[in-house]
Symmetry: D2
Subunit: 135 residues, 4 copies
């Protein structure tokens, strides 16, 4: 299991007139979570794209437990539970500065050749870096 | 069963550098779909808020089947399969102008008293307007 | 002078917790305005990109006169006052359904070759379609 | 003169299909810049709202010098050149990690009583904290 945590500060433009974070803004937080998780492995998503690999999201499941509010400092924990093969799945937990559970999500992505559009397996560089976390 | 369809044109700002609609932008499309579905019943979400009722999203499930692209004219079909009680669930199907399936989602919302925060049942005005669609 | 008007309905996700449209969301409205203005000339921005031309924004000036609110049906009027040459300038006026002035803006864009990045002049197809409006 | 600098990492959802940051996304960066600038004075915008004060943007001028790209780590410098009275003006300069100038902007905001909507002067707490920077 691979676990990584990072923070985001809620921006005013991410709230809506209910006074809460708009439900669509969480996609940005999940993105920050997984991008920083990958960076912590010594890989950047930018590098993957430079090598012609894109990672579109194929499935998203999100549970909104409590509202996040403007200026909250959110903790975003991203977990990879299984060694990715054709798909990579991030389990995300978002808590606020008072350690209250805000949101739980699963984001599943695939890998595609940017030029042909073809589905590909998880790049070996990712599998190598993750190998230590999965015996 | 209640069904309603509406259109959105993909904006440039909703695409990302993959050249597709960003996965987080679909939340806006689902919102347009359900807001217009409710409007077609003769109710507006604005009115509900004026009466002190808010409708936060509690669960979202989304399946990204094919990418939507800039300037696509998307058809958003929102279906209410069951008479709402404590929760209201919208099943959304998004197709492009070539009738290709782009995305399927389920968005579940609750009703809350804006002032107390308390959960409430589906307002009777909504149930009355939906009654014809559910025998 | 070339003038074109179109409508947008304010989305919930475009509001912020002040209860108004977030100041950054107007960029999307200006975009809808100019894209539909160009479409009314029989050209689409998508076609321009297919021919290797991109139109980045180089300057934006925006004056927020009155707040726009959720569900407002905004009228977006885009005016081209001068035949574009190296730059194209859109003067935008946004009013709400009560004909109240909401926002005034000027958006200036350039044209670039997508592959070389080089600045180019306004494509002749645009100049031809605009010729009737400028004697 | 009061100067404050902070960083933002460009998110994927902030890019568009040109491969650059969407011109509308800069509004979020300016917001982060001024919010952190105010925080560095020991005041939070959240507190101001708790005291019934909102700060709507009244004018925005933005010059896009060079494109920002995905994953860029941007430096956002916000400068208050004059002691604010009825209006507060932030001059913003955005540079990328290679110290290239990306964007320059001026964002002017007013202060309003949240309940009455009335224009008010700059709250004295802000003036006091800024006093040291303006002799």
């Amino acid at each position: 299991m691979f676990t990584h945590a990072t923070n985001v500060r809620v921006r005013y433009g991410e709230t809506d007139q209910m006074g809460f974070v708009y439900y669509g803004a969480y996609a940005l937080y999940y993105e920050v979570g997984r991008v920083e998780a990958i960076r912590s492995l010594g890989i950047t998503y930018r590098q993957l794209e430079d090598e012609g690999i894109i990672m579109p999201v194929v499935r998203l499941t999100s549970k909104y437990v409590q509202p996040a509010r403007y200026d909250d400092l959110l903790d975003i924990t991203s977990v990879i539970r299984e060694m990715p093969d054709r798909l990579i799945s991030f389990h995300v937990t978002i808590k606020n500065q008072a350690d209250q559970l805000i949101n739980r999500a699963e984001v599943v992505l695939c890998f595609r050749n940017m030029h042909t559009g073809q589905l590909i397996r998880t790049p070996s560089i990712i599998q190598q870096r993750l190998a230590n976390y999965f015996d």
